[in-house]
């Protein structure tokens, strides 16, 4: 009897267990659980959004100034501004000045106040701002870790990281291949001899003028001679040698007659008026088919490639190469630089503004936002968090990246010179292009001014 009762009990438990494990009921329960979970998640998200909106409503509206918008991406700025302000509704960003225009920064510095987000460079004005404690040290920001060390070093002064660069720059030769074909060339020049010959052929066999450059901009005016002297002295002094001697004011430019001769040889091929051309004028000269080639920075890649394609009707006619200042069989030395960087004001304008400027700076350096500037300018990317699919470079520029990475290099002039040297040297170079000075006279001026005005002496 006892056993029978035990059997009935077990049987009963089995039946209860079977009923309890009804698959339909299990599925039903699971679905219900899932629905509950989703409901909870939606509720949580709604609460979070509500909290964020409440936060935004609670936060006092603030306005910050951004002195970063450059000519190369001014069209993208409204979209960026709107996107940021939608995410942080209590912050209004207003753009002031034009990105690299240092006079604007200097005038603001005179009032001991600089914009919240600011364009900085390796120039005296920026150094003054850093030394005067107007620019923040970015070392502790999380986004700083997303920029390669070499580029951080370039914007470090007295152990203080004062700027995060928006890209890497190097010198290029933009070529309208339709013009070269007309002159009997099927590839861009590979060395100085070919370069001069191409110029000669273009002048003689086509309606184009050989070469142009934006002489109005000091960085590009200096490029005309910079690559020549770098290729001449680079192999002699090795990596870093040029920079060291430049900063110390020890380069005697007139001691390198071959470089001076190359400068003299190439100068007559510039389109008349190149000395005062702006970068827009150069783009127009390529778009109108006035010039066949242009010396320019990679930061103008997009407009330059578009300009050539506009004139020829085929983007494949746009070629980009390194400046062929090398002798046949020798390697060309190029000039590179981190581009203008973005920094942050260190002026204490109250917790709300201080927080807002940091939020905007961090937001700016996020890949999904940074890529807008990056791709508009078509420059070499520096932000390590950018993924391949976020980078859109013109095909012509993509082709030159590998040789650029392989080439030995010197730093671009503006990282090395004083303002006094910049002014004197660029004026002399413009005069050589305009036919108002000889190359010999220009290098003599450069030598004399560098000896008295250099980074070591100032």
């Amino acid at each position: 009897m006892k056993r029978l009762l035990l059997l009935l009990l077990v049987l009963g438990m089995v039946i209860v267990a079977f009923v309890g494990c009804n698959p339909a009921a299990v599925v039903e329960d699971a679905v219900e659980d899932a629905v509950d979970a989703v409901d909870d998640a939606v509720d949580d998200a709604a609460d979070a959004v509500e909290d964020a909106v409440d936060d935004a409503m609670e936060k006092e509206p603030v306005t910050i100034e951004a002195f970063i918008v450059g000519a190369g991406w001014v069209d993208q700025w409204p979209e960026m501004k709107a996107s940021f302000e939608a995410e942080y509704p209590w912050i209004t960003v207003i753009e002031v000045g034009t990105g690299p225009e240092e006079g604007f920064l200097a005038s603001r510095m005179a009032a001991s106040d600089i914009p919240d987000i600011v364009s900085v460079d390796n120039t005296q004005v920026s150094y003054d701002a850093v030394d005067g404690g107007l620019v923040a040290d970015l070392s502790d920001l999380e986004v700083t870790g997303n920029i390669p060390q070499a580029y951080l070093d370039a914007f470090t002064r007295d152990g203080k990281i004062f700027g995060l660069t928006q890209g890497a720059a190097f010198t290029c030769l933009y070529v309208n291949m339709a013009a070269l074909n007309e002159a009997g060339w099927d590839a861009p020049p590979a060395n100085f001899e070919e370069f001069v010959q191409v110029c000669k052929d273009i002048e003689e066999k086509t309606d184009y003028e050989p070469l142009t450059v934006a002489g109005d901009k000091t960085t590009t005016a200096w490029m005309v001679y910079e690559g020549i002297i770098a290729t001449e002295v680079g192999p002699l002094w090795g990596p870093g040698g040029y920079e060291e001697k430049f900063r110390a004011g020890e380069i005697v430019f007139s001691d390198y007659p071959d470089a001076t001769a190359k400068f003299a040889e190439i100068a007559p091929y510039f389109v008349t008026g190149s000395a005062t051309n702006t970068e827009d004028d150069v783009t127009a000269a390529m778009a109108d088919g006035v010039a066949a080639m242009a010396i320019a920075g990679n930061w103008t890649a997009n407009p330059m490639v578009e300009a050539i394609a506009t004139f020829t009707g085929d983007v494949a006619d746009a070629a980009v190469t390194l400046l062929p200042y090398n002798d046949p069989g020798e390697q060309v030395w190029i000039s590179i630089s981190p581009e203008t960087a973005w920094g942050m004001s260190a002026v204490d304008d109250g917790a709300a503004i201080n927080e807002a400027r940091e939020l905007f700076f961090t937001w700016l350096m996020q890949p999904e936002n940074f890529k807008i500037v990056q791709n508009a300018r078509g420059t070499v990317p520096v932000l390590t968090t950018l993924t391949d699919d976020q980078i859109i470079l013109p095909d012509a520029i993509k082709g030159v990246l590998a040789p650029m990475n392989d080439a030995p290099f010197v730093l671009m002039g503006f990282n090395l010179w004083t303002e006094t040297f910049r002014d004197a040297a660029c004026t002399a170079i413009r005069d050589v292009m305009g036919g108002n000075k000889t190359a010999d006279e220009a290098v003599t001026i450069m030598t004399d001014v560098l000896a008295t005005s250099n980074m070591a002496s100032e």
Binding site: E102, G103, A106, S107, M109, A110, S112, Q124, V125, D128, A129, D131, G132, G133, L134, D216, V271, T272, G273, A275, T276, D281, A284, A285, D288, V290, T418, E419, T420, D423, A424, T427, R430, D431, G434, G435, N436, K437, I445, V449, E458
Partner: protein, 309 residues
Amino acid sequence: MEQLTEVKRKRRSKFESKRTWTGILFLIPCTILVVMFIVVPVINVVRYSFNEVSLADASDVTFVGLDNYKAVPQTEGFTEMIIATIVFALGVTIVVVGLAFIVALALDKRGRGRINRGFMRSLWFFPALLSAAIVGILWRIMYHYTNGVINKSIQALGGERVNWLETPWLTNGAVIIAAVWLLMGMAIVIFLAGLQSIPTSLYEAARIDGASKRQIRRNITIPMMAPAITINVLTISIAAFKMYELPWFISLGLPGYTTRLLTQRIYFYGFEATNLMGIGAALSVVLIIVITLISLIQLFVLRKREDIF
């Protein structure tokens, strides 16, 4: 009687004192602005000219005596800049005053239809409303060798393109023309005001006496315009000496430093080579003295001429 006079004096003095205080109160806002934006900056410029100054921290100054003044002439292209400044100021003043006078005479003519005259006056005055930087950029575009409207027009007429911005002396002329275009409007207005203040009875009397148009112009119009000429010569020459942005935007000071003005050098030291701000201040002081001297000489000579007439 004495008592009455005393009461009157008291009343008057009370009135006068109230009037004086009202005057002082009216002067206060203007005086504060002049002190803040003119007197203090000028004193600071003089102070900085004897010191080494940093733009980022203007309180951080080191006394260097006359070193900044000694460094001024050693600036690269200094002599060329001095010549450029004098040529520019002289050229602009002569052309603006001469041309504005002729245009003002033409615009002052009566009986040509009021609307037409008003429209022409507005047209001549229009450039004066624009900023010098904008005018500089506009003229640079017009002077552009390949795309500029001036060279395109010359080519359309069968001529050769001209390198306006890189040819010695021609570039000086190009810059002067642009400055003249900008400054003419104001000078014309001053001349027109002067012309309209000449009593018509003088002209009528001259005509009755049988004076020719030429004689009227030479013996009535020009002498009576002497004060307006003085004002225009002074204001235009000061404006030309002070001008900075217009010539820079046109020619970048090229060729060499032949169109680079001293004001541009001051800007360079003040806002570009900022560690040399003291030299910029010294150059500013020199320029202030030069402008003041030239203005005083002009004033002396022209006032004397006014007295003659």
